[in-house]
Structures are given as structure tokens and as C-alpha cells.
């Protein structure tokens, strides 16, 4: 049973143990598996959105004649058509397109930060992390405005059957359509926003570590890479959220 006396070596193929078969450290693997499970969480929410929407009537009339009603699911372009500083101007999806661009841009700067990490270029890592934090923060700010506008509502509001007028939306009332539309909007974009917020917190933490030279001393910037994975995932989820809420 002695193991030390043997001269022969055990097998040493990719999956034969004693190595990292997927060429990734355990920390990176863990991040990947966490993202996989998080994808299922978001997947469940988007399925809830799909089913809820399917249960409601679509609007079938002329696009120009569209009015908000609890009878049908609203047309997104008619709901999300405001832009800060352009009160009363109909700019369908302009603001959300800008938000999306900012978030995608932050993914680009994240890639540059990771790339700088591979080169062990501390200054570049700092620079690109800072840009990413800035874009992430801007996205959150835009979302705050978007929410505020959604909650306040339009000037016209919606006339209910009993003649009263309601403005804006909350979790129980909704001037734009069925209450569930607002419920889902708040819940899903809010859940995504929480993810972005956590991402920004993580980015700030690794930014501080980078400035303090923690990763430089450690000899690699893998932590930046791991947070980068998370950040790209959050961006990818936004693409889906954007598609579901704004485009279809």
C-alpha cells in the first residue's frame, strides 16, 4: 500500500487529476458557476414576464390612436418616450438607448482594464476601472431618472372608468396599462439595477486594491478578471431585459 516507493507516474492527461482541466483557477470557475445559476434566476423572471404579457390583450388599433388603458398591454414606445430636459417632446426609446449605450461602453472599458491587468500595467488598470465605475454609476443615475419619470407619470395620466385621473405608476396602480406591467418593470429592472449596483461596489473595491498595489504584489490581476466576468454578465442580462421591456 506504500505509495512513495513506486517509480511509475500516474496518468497525466487533461482530466487525470493533479491539474486544472478547464485551464481556469477555482476562483474563476466559481464565478462562472455563480453566473450560470444567476442566469437561471433572471431566466425565471423573464419567463414570468413573457407569461404575464401573454395573458394580457395586445393593443390592436392604429398606433396614432393609442391611449393608455388597463385593457391592453401598452406599446413600449408610447411609455418610454421622455428625455431629461425635453419635456413634452416625443422621443421614443431615445433615453433608454442612451442608457444601453453607456452600459455597453462600460463593458468595453472593463475589457481594457482586464487587458491592462494581463500586461501588469497598474496605471492602465486604474484608468479603465475608473471609467467603468463612471459609466456604471451613470447607468444607475439614468435608471433612477427613468424610474422617477415612470413613477411621476405623464401630464395627461389615465382616466379611470369612474372619471378619476391617475398619474404615474406604483406597485398597485399604473397609468400606462395593466398593474402587472408596472410590477414587472419595477421588479425586473430593479433586480437588474441591484446587480449593477453590486457590480459598482465590487469595482470600487478592486479599484482601491489596485491603487494600493495589492494585485501587483500578488503578481496577477485575476481579481479584476473575475469582477469583469460578473460585469459582462450583468450587461448581457440588460440586453435581454431591454429587448423584453422596450423592443417587443
Amino acid at each position: 500500500m506504500s505509495t512513495s516507493t513506486t517509480l511509475e507516474a500516474p496518468k497525466s492527461g487533461t482530466w487525470d487529476g493533479g491539474n486544472e482541466p478547464l485551464k481556469a483557477s477555482y476562483g474563476k470557475l466559481m464565478m462562472w458557476f455563480f453566473l450560470l445559476s444567476d442566469a437561471f434566476t433572471f431566466g425565471a423572471f423573464l419567463i414570468v414576464y413573457g407569461l404575464s404579457r401573454h395573458k394580457h390583450m395586445p393593443y390592436t388599433g392604429e398606433a396614432e390612436a393609442f391611449t393608455f388603458s388597463t385593457e391592453w398591454w401598452p406599446i413600449p414606445e408610447k411609455v418610454f418616450n421622455a428625455f431629461p430636459g425635453f419635456h413634452g417632446v416625443d422621443l421614443p426609446l431615445a433615453f433608454v438607448a442612451l442608457m444601453t449605450m453607456i452600459l455597453i461602453l462600460s463593458s468595453v472599458t472593463m475589457v481594457l482594464a482586464v487587458e491592462a491587468g494581463h500586461r501588469m500595467d497598474k496605471n492602465d488598470v486604474q484608468k479603465w476601472l475608473l471609467w467603468t465605475i463612471l459609466f456604471g454609476g451613470t447607468f444607475l443615475g439614468c435608471q433612477a431618472w427613468e424610474w422617477a419619470h415612470f413613477i411621476t407619470g405623464t401630464d395627461e395620466g389615465m382616466v379611470l372608468a369612474d372619471g378619476t385621473r391617475i398619474f404615474g405608476a406604483n406597485l398597485t396602480m399604473n397609468q400606462y396599462g395593466p398593474p402587472l406591467f408596472a410590477d414587472l418593470f419595477f421588479f425586473i429592472t430593479g433586480f437588474h439595477g441591484t446587480h449593477v449596483f453590486s457590480g459598482v461596489v465590487l469595482l470600487i473595491m478592486i479599484f482601491i486594491n489596485t491603487v494600493n498595489g495589492v494585485y501587483h504584489k500578488r503578481g496577477h490581476y485575476e481579481m479584476v478578471e473575475k469582477v469583469g466576468l460578473y460585469w459582462h454578465f450583468v450587461d448581457l442580462v440588460w440586453v435581454f431585459v431591454f429587448t423584453f421591456f422596450y423592443l417587443i
Partner: protein, 608 residues
């Protein structure tokens, strides 16, 4: 997040070697906030045993009510207080009892207690690793589970009682606090506790998966892994993919309950008053719940598949029959477990065509399950069987799994399910196949690995008493339930004496309750044996069962880092028992082929 938990050590196999030169750990580091997988496993085990007794005790309470519906239980007043009025159990408390029994047993005992114990304990030991990939996250996993336990346990003592909507917490019942007292604060605490529980499961699961992928010792290829590791690996993957969906479902339910949304609610009148909620669908919750719920039953049973395979082959002194078929069937079961959830929902008014699709997929599961059963029997066949306590439980596991599995084929038929849905037939089915069977698998594991956990042996005589009493009562409790179920008696009913048709079953229900009390009492034999043996048991040798796997190459009481010297390398599969020509009837995985020339098979000559 501190950077220490995910920092990287270049060669993880040697990461902990420094710990061998002891830096003294204080009491808290060593036993409470320990990052050692063996200590964490024991923490999960103790918590699981505690919860097992709580869950069992709750079931005895409602069995008293079911067995003796006319009796008065004034003697329960001192412990249950206001839940017993004039000697009668409060009907709403009865609902809370069944809910908590289900939740505790499924999640806290058979998920956390089972996977938490054996995945943590065996993965590093059997794959040849110093510890889990991230000890810190592992510790976090236990303590978040502990927090979730506290919330759940506290909910037993609040005035309005714990959650009472059944362990599946279907809305609208669970979503409306005004519906029953069990949907009030107790339900809120249930949801908080489960959300924490899911976080703990994900932390644990991510760790198990990465550890198996990255930390296997030299030579330990995927097809040299013991079946236990394959089982834990797949269990962790199932948990990783299904628990997040329960998390989504629970979050939406929390919003419906506390913030006025209508995800699951529509057109509801309660106490003559119409609620404003509109547009939601309670069926949606069922889909989300069972997308977790069905994989969950495999999360419960898969680890025991692995444990039982290991114990049966060791104690039959024969190689496992169909090693690759065992892996294949577990893979098949894992895959299928994600596409059968709607068989829990045949009576929700779903399209019959969709029902038949889910029925078809469900019945396919019988194939890999049967492969496993036949392989276990074939392993036993003409083996040199050693009837250790652990082996008894393992064989009984196979028996219970067959008995419970056969009724699964009946229930999987959508047409038959319409008659049997939500009756005691269902109760009998799943208690045999995933309740009793999983418990037997857990006992198998505890009796088998106790020497490695505590360095001492459990008492065999007491083990036999425990086994026979438990085995008999398992069948005596659940077999008669099939008849009550076929007769149509619905589950979760507080009292059945109001229905003439069910009065003929009075004696049978009393009988079941008596058997249940016997079974519960028998567990105290186990508890005594367990605690006594930790302190006073016979001292174990390094490899008491003459087993092949790596954990038995560690010292009797493995320290931090598991192996004092270098980690052993692996040369062969773990099931070389009774190999013709070998000196002994077992060849551990660490023995190279060059040392066993007399027993090598022709194709193994090349490996010498």
C-alpha cells in the same frame, strides 16, 4: 467581500501544507468558525440530526391527531400551550405541523443535513485534496444555513404559528396574510429562511463543483472517481440550476405578500371583500416552484445513490456492477429531472397533450432508476456479504427505493394521477422513495464513515436494534397508506371522521400512528449510540472496512490538510475487490499496477 476568500494559491494541492506545522488555532477557529471541511461536515451533521428530531417530533404530533381523532391530548398542553384547546389540537396548527414537517425534512435534513455532511466530508477526502476549493465560502455556507435554521426554528414559537400553507406554499393561500393564521408572520419568516437557505446552498454547491473539477489528485480521472463523488457532483449541479428558480419564485411571492404586487394574484374575494389584485396567475408559481421542486427530490436522493453504491460494493467484497452504467444513469436522471416538473401539476387544468408529454418524460426516469437497482442487486449477487449495520441500511435502501419507485410509475400516469392526486397514495409514494429511502441512505453513510469522522466505531448491536425497528416501522407506516390513498382519502386533512366512507380506516390509521411512534422512538437508540460512540466507542483502525477509497489512507484522525505528507496519487479505479490473484480481497486506489502483477488483467499489463 474580503480578498482572502477568493485569492488564488498557485498550486492548490500544497496550499495548506504550512498548516501541518501547527500554528495554534483557538477554540473558535477550530470548532466554530472553522474552515476545515471535516469540521463543517460535522456541523452540518449535528444540525441535520437536530432538525431530524424536530421534524420527526412534529410528525408524531399530527399522527396522534390522525390516529386517535376522538381522543383528547391534555398531556400536550404543557408543551404546545394554546395550540391545544380543551385537549383538541388546533386545526390551523395541524396545517402548520404538516407544513413544517415537510419543509424541515426536505430542506433542512435531507438537503443540508445530507449533502452538507457527506459532500463536505467526502469530496476532499475521496478525491485527494487538502480541503475544499474555498474554505471560507464553505464556512459561510454553513453559517448562513445556521441563520436560516434560526429563523425557521423561531417561527415555530410565534403566536400566530409557523407557515401553514403546505411545504409547497402555493399562492393565493400563502400570499394573503388574512387567509389563515399560518399565512401571517410565520409565512414571512418561512420565506426569509428559505431565501437564506438558498444562498447557503449556492455557496456550498459552487464549492463542491469546483473542488471536484480542479482539486482531484494526480491520476484521479473522472472515471476513477468513487460513485459517491459523481453523485455529489451531480447533486451540486442540480442545486445550482434549480435553487435560483425557487429564489425567483420566493422573491415574487414576497413582493405579492408585502408590497401589493399581483404576480400570482387575480380576481380574489376574501371574507366577502374583493381584492384589487388583477392579472397574475397562481399556476405560474407552481411552475416556478416545481422547476426547483422536482430536481429537489433528486438532490435528496442522488447523494444516497452514491453512498449506497459505495457501501454495497465494499461490503459485498465485489466490484460495483456496471460502474459506467451507474454514472450514465445518474447523468440521465439529472438531465430528466429538469423536464418533468409539470407531473406535479396534472390537475391544474393543463392541456392534456402537454400532460402526456410530461407523463412520457416522467416514465422514462424509470429506466435509469431500474438500471441502478439492478446494478445494486447484481453487485450483491454471490458477493461475500458482510452484514455491517451500514450494509443493512444500504440493502434496505434498495428495498425501499423499489417499493416507492413502483408507485411512482403509477402516479406518473396523468390519467391515474387524477384519481390519486393529493391523496395518501402520494404521501406513501414519496415517503418511501425519497423520505425513508433517503434517511436510510443517510444512516448508511453515518454508520459507514463514523470511524473516519470520529476515530471510533459505532456499536453494532445497538445499530441492529436501530435498523430493524426503523426498517419495520418504515414499511408498517407507509404500506397501509397506499390503501387509504386508493380509497381517496386526501392529504393535509385535519380530521376524516366527518366522512362516512373513511370511518372504516380508523383502525388502520391508529395502526399507522403506532408504527410511526415506534419508528420515532427507535431513533433515540441511534442518538444514544451516536453520542456514546463519539466518546466511548471502540477505537477505529485506519481502514476498518478494508475499503479502497482514498479517505482510508489518511490517519485515523485526519488533521487539518488530511494527509500528513504528500497527497497520495491514484492508479486504479476504486472497486478492485476480490480480484483474482490478489493477495488480499481489496486493492486500494493508491497501489500501482506494478505492485500487483499477480492479479493484473491482460489489458492492465501495459499499465505496469
Amino acid at each position: 467581500m474580503s480578498t482572502t476568500d477568493i485569492s488564488i494559491s498557485k498550486d492548490v494541492h500544497h496550499a495548506h501544507e504550512e498548516h501541518d506545522h501547527h500554528h495554534d488555532q483557538n477554540f473558535f477557529e477550530k470548532y466554530i468558525f472553522s474552515q476545515d471541511h471535516k469540521v463543517i461536515a460535522k456541523q452540518f451533521l449535528f444540525a441535520g440530526i437536530f432538525w431530524g428530531f424536530v421534524g420527526g417530533f412534529l410528525s408524531i404530533l399530527f399522527r396522534l391527531q390522525l390516529g386517535w381523532p376522538e381522543a383528547t391530548f391534555t398531556f400536550l398542553e404543557p408543551i404546545l400551550g394554546k395550540w391545544v384547546e380543551n385537549g383538541k389540537l388546533d386545526p390551523e396548527f395541524y396545517l402548520a405541523l404538516v407544513t413544517m414537517h415537510g419543509t424541515i425534512m426536505v430542506f433542512f435534513v435531507l438537503t443540508a443535513g445530507l449533502s452538507g455532511t457527506f459532500s463536505n466530508f467526502l469530496i476532499p477526502l475521496q478525491i485527494g485534496a487538502r480541503d475544499m476549493a474555498s474554505g471560507f465560502m464553505n464556512m459561510l455556507s454553513f453559517w448562513i444555513f445556521f441563520l436560516s435554521s434560526i429563523v425557521m426554528f423561531a417561527s415555530l414559537f410565534i403566536e400566530t404559528g409557523p407557515a401553514g400553507g403546505g411545504w409547497t406554499v402555493y399562492p393565493p393561500l400563502s400570499a394573503l396574510p388574512q387567509a389563515i393564521s399560518g399565512s401571517g408572520t410565520g409565512m414571512t419568516m418561512w420565506l426569509i429562511s428559505m431565501a437564506l437557505f438558498i444562498v447557503s446552498q449556492l455557496l456550498g454547491g459552487v464549492n463542491y463543483i469546483t473542488t471536484v473539477i480542479n482539486l482531484r489528485t494526480k491520476g484521479m480521472s473522472m472515471t476513477k472517481l468513487p460513485l459517491t463523488i459523481w453523485a455529489f457532483f451531480l447533486t451540486a449541479i442540480l442545486g445550482l440550476l434549480s435553487f435560483p428558480v425557487l429564489f425567483s419564485a420566493a422573491l415574487l411571492l414576497i413582493f405579492d405578500r408585502s408590497f401589493g404586487t399581483s404576480f400570482y394574484l387575480s380576481d380574489i374575494f376574501i371574507a366577502g371583500e374583493a381584492l384589487s389584485n388583477t392579472g397574475g396567475s397562481p399556476i405560474l408559481f407552481q411552475h416556478l416552484f416545481w422547476f426547483l421542486g422536482h430536481p429537489e427530490v433528486y438532490i435528496v436522493i442522488l447523494p444516497t445513490f452514491g453512498i449506497v453504491s459505495e457501501v454495497i460494493t465494499t461490503n459485498s467484497r465485489k466490484p460495483i456492477f456496471g460502474y459506467r452504467a451507474m454514472i450514465g444513469s445518474m447523468l440521465g436522471i439529472s438531465l430528466l429531472s429538469f423536464v418533468v416538473w409539470a407531473h406535479h401539476m396534472f390537475v391544474t387544468g393543463m392541456n392534456p397533450f402537454l400532460g402526456s408529454v410530461f407523463m412520457f418524460l416522467t416514465l422514462i426516469i424509470a429506466v435509469p432508476s431500474a438500471v441502478k437497482v439492478f446494478n445494486w442487486i447484481a453487485t450483491l449477487w454471490r458477493g461475500n456479504i458482510r452484514f455491517t449495520t451500514s450494509m443493512m441500511f444500504a440493502i434496505a435502501f434498495v428495498s425501499l427505493f423499489i417499493s416507492g419507485g413502483l408507485t411512482g410509475i403509477i402516479l406518473g400516469n396523468s390519467a391515474l394521477d387524477i384519481q390519486l392526486h393529493d391523496t395518501y397514495f402520494v404521501i406513501a409514494h414519496f415517503h418511501l422513495v425519497m423520505g425513508a429511502a433517503a434517511f436510510f441512505g443517510m444512516f448508511t453513510g453515518i454508520y459507514h464513515w463514523f470511524p473516519k469522522m470520529f476515530g471510533r466505531m459505532m456499536d453494532e448491536k445497538m445499530g441492529y436494534v436501530h435498523f430493524w425497528l426503523t426498517f419495520l416501522s418504515a414499511y408498517l407506516v407507509f404500506m397501509p397508506m397506499h390503501y387509504i390513498g386508493i380509497a381517496g382519502f386526501p392529504r393535509r386533512y385535519y380530521s376524516w371522521t366527518g366522512f362516512e366512507a373513511f370511518n372504516t380506516f380508523t383502525d388502520m390509521n391508529t395502526f399507522i400512528s403506532l408504527a410511526a411512534i415506534m419508528g420515532f422512538t427507535a431513533q433515540f437508540v441511534f442518538l444514544f449510540n451516536f453520542i456514546y460512540s463519539i466518546f466511548k466507542g471502540r477505537r477505529a483502525t485506519a481502514n476498518p472496512w478494508h475499503s479502497n477509497t482514498l479517505e482510508w489512507t489518511t490517519p485515523v484522525n485526519p488533521g487539518h490538510g488530511n494527509w500528513p505528507g504528500e497527497i497520495p496519487a491514484v492508479y486504479r479505479w476504486p472497486y478492485d475487490y476480490s480480484k483474482p490473484g490478489a493477495a488480499e480481497d481489496y486493492i486500494p486506489q493508491t497501489v500501482p499496477y506494478s505492485q500487483t502483477q499477480s492479479s493484473n488483467l491482460p489489458y492492465e499489463k501495459d499499465l505496469e
